[in-house]
Every structure is written in structure tokens, then in C-alpha cells.
């Protein structure tokens, strides 16, 4: 089969998918994206996030990347041109704390829930292999402009490795931007109240006589360091004894060397300090997810250079003395103090689509509108070290682009075009299909 025939058959297949969706089994509701195209959106309001807005500009994407942006851009010949009059163009949003694709119906359908492995020591478990690319959550989330998320395992002390995925694709590996972007540690003793959707996180392990779960964790990290030294030494000098392969210890290598960030769920001042102290002792690179009390300890967070994925914007005040808007106003306080942070909805998969309204609430209570946008685009990308690929409209970045009829953070705004990985993503979802099926019933 020639390449063009293959492509043609792929198109036929793609055309059939929405039809199949109507009668499909659980979780095949998302129409698949088209091929990577060369597209120019012309005469639109461009919001690069990384720089000032361009009132009447053009953005060109090709081969999955942003190739040009500005007020004076030549549209390449052969490009599909979208008239951007009245439309705004944004970089896609990122939620850095989800279990996207890992759990479909959490109550009463345990067989669809795969976000928490059994046991406490699962560092080599990978979220990527549990992600269902056809989960209905993916479709309804992306159409509000959330184009990529981090999907994390939970439920163990060493819960496994998170994946950064695009919100469109035929397969999980095809969706992966970074298949293993962080490892998750739910520190024992940090209270059993994890960040965001990590929920009642830290497990109540029964310690072996004379050792605590924390001792066991430290031992495992020590072992991982030793294993790394041994395997690296052996790689250089094959006369050394060959270390027996240990998948768990091997998976921790990038984390114990500090290259791979470690997601630590933590909410209270005490939990956050405990986590930071632990990370510093162990020379890990921590990212705190949750951060309910982060605004009470900004000096500490700045001093220790700890980034926060704040999942609590729509939370309640914690203490009697707190203002009613303590949680709403926390992002503004973090910003004013110079804490590195991003906003996550911290919600279960069906509700991740509320992310823009979390950022909007932060903006209503003191965060600037520009910073509210950054908190769900550029900043999470920076915190996870992928700002060279994602988070703003800049030449060379992945073409994850949202075209709207208004302010992307507003609940009344609608998405008109969506590109993920440079592919046009149809805006149909499980919800719009059901709507279309029943709306004209008499």
C-alpha cells in the first residue's frame, strides 16, 4: 500500500468514527483529530500569553508546530485559511493534576477505575498504560480549551509515574507529550490529606517491626541511588558484577538524581514543610500539588524555591479567622509574594473542564487577568519543564491552539476551532451527540 492510499483509508476511517460513536461501548465518544495541516488563522485577536496581545494578527501552524505569529505574517500558499474576524486565539490550557483517562465512573463501576494500584511501592507503574484515549472525559474537557493535562496515579506511597498527554489521539502513546514526566510520592505521615484529587491519599501502611513507612521510603530511595551508581558503573565497565535488573529501583533513577520532578500532594503548612524538608534531604525536585495553605507561607516557599500546583481556588476558608474568600484570593497572594505556581481544578475527571473558571475566580479576587491566563497555560508548562514545547503562542511550540468567540476563561465563551498537535479536532463530544439526538424530539 502506498503512503497516499494508507492516508486515504485513514481518512475513511476517521469519517466513520463519529458514526461508530453513537452506538459504541463505554468510552469511544471522542471523534478523532484530523491530520496535521498547514492552517492560517487570519485577522484574529491573538493572545500569545508570553507577550502582549496582537489585536489583528495571523497565526500559522504547520506540521504540528506554530510556524509564524504576528500582525504582519505571510500566509503560505496551500494553507487552509480561517477567517479570524471576531475570534480570539489562545494557547491551550493545561491542568497539571488530573487522573484523565484513568478512571471513568468512580462510584458504582469499580472496573472502570484504574488510577490507584494496590500496595505502597509502585514507582514503576506508569499512568500512560492505564489511559483510555477514548474516555468521554477527554472530549468534553478539550472543547473548553484544555488541550493537554498531566494524568497521575495515586493511592500508594510511591504511586507511580505521571504522563503529560495531549487531549486527542488514537492511542495513549500517540497522545503522550512526555510519557513519564514526574513521579508521585504521597509522603507517609504527611497526614493522609493529599492535594487536589489525590484525596485521602497517604496510605496507612502497617510498618514492619522497628521501621515506619517513612523509613521504608527512605530505604527505597537509598537503594535507588545505589542501583543507579551500580548500573552506571557497570555500563562503563562490564568487568564489574552485573546488577540484577530491578524495575522499581530503575524507575526511580531520574527522580533520585533530581532530573525528574516529584509530585508531592500536600495541603497544610505542616504537610508542605514536611514534604519540602524531605525533598531537600533526599535531593529531590519537589512540586507540591494541593497547596491549600501555601498562601500562609509564601516567604518559606520563595526561600525554598518550591512550586505549587494550587488545586484549592474554589475551596472553603479553612479556619474561623479566614475570610470567606481566602481560597479565591490565594493565587493573588502567591503571585504578589513571588511564589511559582499554577492553578489546577483539582477536580475529578468529569469536572476538569471547570479549570478556566477556577482561574477566573482567582482573577475576580485579585490576580491580574494576564496572570490568571498564565496560571493555566505558561506557568504549569514552566513548572514541569515543558515551556519550550507548550504554554504560549510562540514559533516552534506544539500547535495546541484554541479559537474562541471571547475570553477563554469566561463560562459563556464558546470554542470555535480546536487544534491539538497541529491537528484539527472536531468539537463533537458525548454530550453534544446526546444533545443532537434528543433536542428536537417532539
Amino acid at each position: 500500500m502506498t503512503r497516499s492510499v494508507k492516508l486515504a483509508s485513514l481518512f475513511v476511517l476517521a469519517a466513520l468514527v463519529p458514526l461508530a460513536g453513537a452506538s459504541a461501548q463505554l468510552g469511544s465518544y471522542n471523534p478523532e483529530p484530523g491530520p496535521r495541516e498547514t492552517v492560517a488563522i487570519r485577522g484574529a485577536h491573538l493572545v500569545p500569553v508570553s507577550g502582549p496581545d496582537i489585536a489583528n494578527g495571523t497565526i500559522v501552524i504547520s506540521d504540528g508546530k506554530i510556524v509564524a505569529i504576528g500582525s504582519n505574517v505571510t500566509v503560505p500558499s496551500g494553507a487552509r485559511v480561517i477567517d479570524g474576524a471576531g475570534l480570539s486565539v489562545y494557547p491551550g490550557m493545561m491542568d497539571a493534576s488530573t487522573a484523565m483517562g484513568l478512571a471513568e465512573i468512580t462510584q458504582g463501576a469499580d472496573a472502570t477505575v484504574d488510577n490507584a494500584e494496590t500496595g505502597n511501592w509502585n514507582p514503576n507503574v506508569q499512568a500512560l498504560w492505564g489511559i483510555d484515549p477514548h474516555s468521554a472525559h477527554i472530549g468534553v474537557t478539550r472543547v473548553v480549551g484544555i488541550t493537554h493535562v498531566i494524568s497521575s496515579p495515586s493511592g500508594s506511597i510511591l504511586a507511580g509515574q505521571s504522563a503529560l498527554i495531549n487531549m486527542a489521539g488514537f492511542t495513549a502513546p500517540g497522545m503522550a507529550v512526555v510519557p513519564r514526566i514526574a513521579t508521585v510520592i504521597q509522603l507517609p505521615g504527611s497526614g493522609g490529606r493529599g492535594g487536589g484529587r489525590f484525596g485521602g491519599g497517604a496510605p496507612a501502611a502497617t510498618p514492619a517491626a522497628g521501621s515506619t513507612p517513612l523509613d521504608s521510603l527512605k530505604q527505597m530511595l537509598d537503594d535507588a541511588r545505589a542501583y543507579k551508581v551500580a548500573t552506571e558503573a557497570y555500563a562503563k565497565d562490564k568487568t564489574l558484577p552485573r546488577p540484577t535488573t530491578d524495575l522499581a529501583l530503575a524507575s526511580l533513577g531520574p527522580a533520585v538524581s533530581g532530573e525528574m520532578p516529584v509530585i508531592f500532594p500536600a495541603q497544610s503548612v505542616a504537610q508542605i514543610k514536611e514534604v519540602v524538608k524531605f525533598a531537600e534531604e533526599q535531593k529531590l525536585t519537589p512540586i507540591v500539588v494541593g497547596g491549600r495553605d501555601a498562601w500562609r507561607m509564601t516567604d518559606y516557599l520563595v526561600e525554598h524555591k518550591v512550586p505549587i500546583i494550587y488545586t484549592n481556588t474554589l475551596g472553603f476558608p479553612t479556619y474561623e479567622d479566614d475570610g470567606y474568600d481566602a481560597a479565591y484570593a490565594a493565587p493573588a497572594k502567591l503571585r504578589a509574594a513571588g511564589v511559582t505556581f499554577a492553578i489546577s481544578a483539582g477536580e475529578s475527571n468529569p469536572d476538569v473542564r471547570n479549570l478556566p473558571y477556577h482561574a477566573g475566580m482567582a482573577a475576580a479576587f485579585g490576580l491580574s487577568h494576564e496572570d490568571a491566563l498564565k496560571s493555566v497555560t505558561l506557568w504549569p508548562a514552566q513548572i514541569f519543564g515543558v515551556a519550550d514545547k507548550l504554554g504560549s503562542l510562540e514559533v516552534g511550540k506544539i500547535a495546541n491552539i484554541v479559537v474562541t468567540n471571547g475570553d477563554m476563561l469566561e463560562a459563556r465563551t464558546d470554542t470555535k476551532y480546536l487544534f491539538i498537535d497541529g491537528r484539527n479536532v472536531p468539537l463533537a463530544t458525548k454530550h453534544s451527540e446526546l444533545y443532537d439526538t434528543f433536542k428536537d424530539r417532539k
Binding site: A136, A270, D321, A411
Partner: protein, 487 residues
């Protein structure tokens, strides 16, 4: 108060309750007149809100308009109104005035949610267990919400009697109960009743609970049919008795009062409205058909996540729905929920509202309403109606609240931006013309609280060792070694 003792001993019938409300209202008028000196219950001063964009909900949007709140009512709406003597004037230039938000499904203030031991618990009343010091009341006021329909949970097919309240923070429950609200009752269908969606009733270490009938949707229909059959017999028994008494028979013994069946008779007689928790289209239809058969109307289907599948049938029955803006997928029966639900039902003529069912969301129902503009293209006014006037109609209080019209209760909220914008915040929340939340007052209270705290902490007896970091909203810790619990 003797009335309280009486009510504890002998429950009033609904007519008696209504009479009593009138009596209490009359007494209050007398009491207010008699104790006009009492600062606690002085009528609030008149308030003239000027230059607002008034979102009346029922009569469109009025720009640069003044609204006069006087004697607890909306007294005037117009341009260049004159403030009466002694009135305070609030310049709302650039701000928006919206009726107080009405949340048709809440469990706020309720000390107990489910009396789940029986399948029919029509005898229990949520009004008996309301906590007026629940600080979520204040949080909700700060989100522009002024009225709640407080319902029982969904553990049983026929739950308990509801309470409609105005969120008069700082007042006793007796002053929060909405005068004249239509009495209601919670019904529930589906998974929460059959208890098949979670093991949450199982407590580790405790003997596993016996299954409680019904455990299927078939059983739910039967429970309803049985209950209303018994209620009809009970009604007939009383009607026979009353007829004989009317004919002069003096030797009869009255039938024994049945507190379970009495509210069901009220339903049959149209004196109590049913608010039925339901998800799947088939169970909603079952209830509507059964109600037809027994001759009553279901006032609202609560949640009603699949209402869009049977919108014509619901409309034909004259039933309303109260649903989530976009909550879905958290259990099997919520997997076909769509955020276009209201767009479909509203266009089919169904009186439709958005509710919170959650003290968190009760603080931002305006944003939930805004989502309906995106999903299905409701107009701004239609979206706002789902959290104001439509809820008032579903609770029988639309003559008093739900829109900004002359003569209605002065339950209004000033917002600093259009309330359908995510960037908007309530600035001042009025109920019956009184301010129950105000951002400036809130800031001042916080300041004085902080000063008080500082003084107290400096006082010798309060110095180390630190103590009092228990559960709940205690003092915010500077350093927290101990684990504290979010409420």
C-alpha cells in the same frame, strides 16, 4: 414560648401550620410595633441604590437605574429617584443589581440529612434540625445566594419534609423560615435508594447492614404505590369521619392520626409539593405516571439528569426540573448527563432551574448559570432565570422573590460586574432590605478580628503553650505541627 411546647407535643397539620405562620406574622407586627426601640429588630433604614444596571430577570435589563428598598420591599424602580429622609444611598455606578439567587436544592444548615432506616419517612422534618450558625450561610451570602430549599438526602424513596429559608445570618431559625413557602417533601429514586453505587453504608468493623427494601427500581415503584394506596385509605377514613360528624354524629371516635400518611394526603390534596431526586429517564417517567394515576402533580424532578430525553413528557405533566449545570459522570446513572439538559427542557416548556446540592457551589450558582449560555445557547435572561425566578416558582414564593419588581421582597444583590461573568463578585447582599453581607463591612470585621486576636495573643494568660488547634475553623496557625482537619 408556649407555642413551641405545643408543637413538640402535637404536630400541627399543614393548615394549622399555615394559620400559625399568619398568627406569628401578626404577632411579629405587634411585637415590632411594641418594641420599636429594640435595636436588634428595628426595621432597616430605607436604601436607595443609584445608577445600577438592573437585571430584573422578568422585565429585562435597565441601565443607569435607581432602586429604592423600603420597609423590606422593593418600593420603587426608576431614574433619578429621590432618597426618602433617613435613607442610605449606595452609588452602584458600573455595578449590577440582581435578585438574590435561589438555590432549589440544598443540604446546608441541616444537622442530619437522611433518616434512611425506613423506605418511607414522610413524618420527619428538616426544619427540626436546622443549624442557623452554619458558616456556609455567610459564604453563600457572599456568593449572592439568599434563599435555599433545604431537602433531605436521597437514601429512601419517600424522604422527609423540606424547609425553605432566607439566609438571615445571625438570626434564629424561626426568622429564617420563608413565610408562605409551599410545603414540600423529598422523594428519591435510583441508585442512591437501591444503594448499589457504593459501599458507603458499610462501616469497617461493624456488622454489615441488612439490605433495606427496595433494592431495585421495581421495588421503588411498589413502595410509592403502597404508600399512596395507604394514604388514600387514610384520607377516606378521615373524610368518612368528618362527614359523619358534620351530620351530627357525636359518638364517634376520631381515627388515629398517622404522621407518616398525613403528608402524603397533603400531596394528594395539592397542599404539599413533591421534589423528587431522580436521574434516569425511565424512573422519572415511572413517577410521573404513578402521580397521574393517584391524581397529584410532581412539582420538580431534582437532578433530572436525563430529563432531556423525555422533555415533552415532563412538559405535558406540568412538572419542573432542577438540575446541575454540568455535573456528570460520577456514577452510572449520571453518565448520560449533559450540560445541554436545561436548553432542551426549557425549550420544551419545562420550568427549569439550576441547583447546587453543595455548599461550595451554592457560592457560585451565577457561574453555573453562565454555562447554559455556552451549552445550548440560552439568553442571559434565560440563564439568570434558572437561578432566580424559576426557583421561586418551583417553591411557591414567586410573588415575593426571584425578580426585581415593585412590591417584592427586597432580596437583592449588588455585583461588581455582570453576574454571568467569572470575574464578578457580590458587593452587598440584601434580604428584606437588610444588609447581610457587604464586602466593606466584611473587610472592617476582619480587621477588628485581627486586632482582637493580636491583643488576646499578647495577653499573659494566652501565651505559650499554644493550644486550641482542634478540628474545624480554629485560629489559623503560624506554625502547625499538628494536623488540622478541614471541616
Amino acid at each position: 414560648m408556649p407555642a413551641t411546647i405545643t408543637s413538640a407535643l402535637r404536630r400541627p397539620t399543614i393548615e394549622e401550620q399555615m394559620k400559625r405562620t399568619t398568627l406569628v406574622a401578626a404577632l411579629l407586627v405587634v411585637a415590632t410595633a411594641a418594641s420599636a426601640q429594640s435595636p436588634a429588630r428595628q426595621a432597616p433604614p430605607a436604601t436607595l441604590i443609584t445608577h445600577a444596571t438592573v437585571l430584573t430577570v422578568t422585565k429585562g435589563t435597565l441601565t443607569d437605574t435607581d432602586v429604592l428598598l423600603q420597609n423590606g420591599k422593593i418600593a420603587a424602580i426608576g431614574k433619578n429617584l429621590t432618597a426618602p429622609a433617613g435613607a442610605r444611598t449606595i452609588d452602584a455606578s458600573g455595578e449590577f443589581l440582581l435578585p438574590g439567587i435561589i438555590d432549589p436544592h440544598s443540604h446546608m444548615m441541616s444537622d442530619a440529612t437522611n433518616e434512611g432506616s425506613l423506605s418511607v419517612t414522610s413524618m420527619v422534618r428538616i426544619a427540626d434540625v436546622l443549624n442557623p450558625t452554619d458558616d456556609h450561610i455567610y459564604d453563600a451570602l457572599a456568593g449572592g445566594t439568599t434563599t435555599l430549599n433545604i431537602l433531605h438526602g436521597s437514601a429512601n424513596t419517600i424522604g422527609g419534609q423540606n424547609a425553605v429559608v432566607k439566609l438571615k445570618w445571625g438570626r434564629p431559625v424561626s426568622e429564617m423560615l420563608f413565610p408562605g413557602a409551599m410545603p414540600g417533601i423529598k422523594f428519591a429514586l435510583g441508585e442512591n435508594v437501591t444503594r448499589k453505587n457504593s459501599g458507603r453504608f458499610i462501616v469497617i468493623g461493624q456488622p454489615q447492614p441488612q439490605p433495606r427494601y427496595p433494592t431495585t427500581r421495581m421495588g421503588q415503584e411498589e413502595v410509592l404505590r403502597d404508600a399512596f394506596t395507604r394514604a388514600r385509605d387514610y384520607q377516606a377514613e378521615w373524610n368518612d369521619y368528618r362527614a359523619k360528624v358534620a351530620k351530627g354524629d357525636k359518638n364517634l371516635v376520631a381515627p388515629r392520626r398517622d404522621l407518616e400518611l398525613e403528608p402524603l394526603v397533603e400531596i394528594l390534596e395539592g397542599k404539599r409539593w413533591v421534589h423528587a431526586h431522580s436521574y434516569r429517564a425511565d424512573e422519572m417517567l415511572m413517577l410521573l405516571d404513578l402521580a397521574d394515576e393517584f391524581g397529584f402533580k410532581v412539582r420538580t424532578l431534582q437532578h433530572a439528569l436525563e430529563a432531556y430525553k423525555i422533555a415533552p413528557e415532563i412538559a405535558a405533566h406540568g412538572t419542573g426540573i432542577s438540575t446541575f449545570a454540568d455535573m456528570w459522570g460520577y456514577k452510572i446513572e449520571a453518565y448520560d448527563a449533559i450540560p445541554y439538559n436545561v436548553a432542551v427542557t426549557m425549550r420544551a416548556g419545562v420550568l427549569s432551574t439550576i441547583n447546587s446540592d453543595d455548599d461550595g457551589r451554592a457560592r457560585r450558582l451565577n457561574i453555573d448559570a453562565a454555562k447554559l449560555v455556552r451549552y445550548g445557547g440560552l439568553t442571559d435572561d434565560e440563564a439568570l432565570a434558572t437561578v432566580t425566578i424559576n426557583g421561586a416558582k418551583q417553591l411557591g414564593i414567586d410573588a415575593k422573590v426571584g425578580s426585581i419588581e415593585i412590591g417584592k421582597d427586597a432580596d437583592v444583590v449588588i455585583w461588581d460586574a455582570h453576574p454571568l461573568s467569572v470575574y464578578s463578585r457580590p458587593v452587598t447582599t440584601f434580604i428584606d432590605g437588610e444588609i447581610f453581607f457587604d464586602r466593606d463591612q466584611d473587610a472592617a470585621m476582619r480587621k477588628s478580628l485581627a486586632e482582637e486576636r493580636k491583643t488576646l495573643e499578647a495577653a499573659e494568660p494566652n501565651k505559650l503553650p499554644q493550644s486550641g488547634r482542634g478540628a474545624g475553623r480554629g485560629a489559623a496557625p503560624a506554625e502547625t505541627p499538628a494536623e488540622e482537619d478541614h471541616r
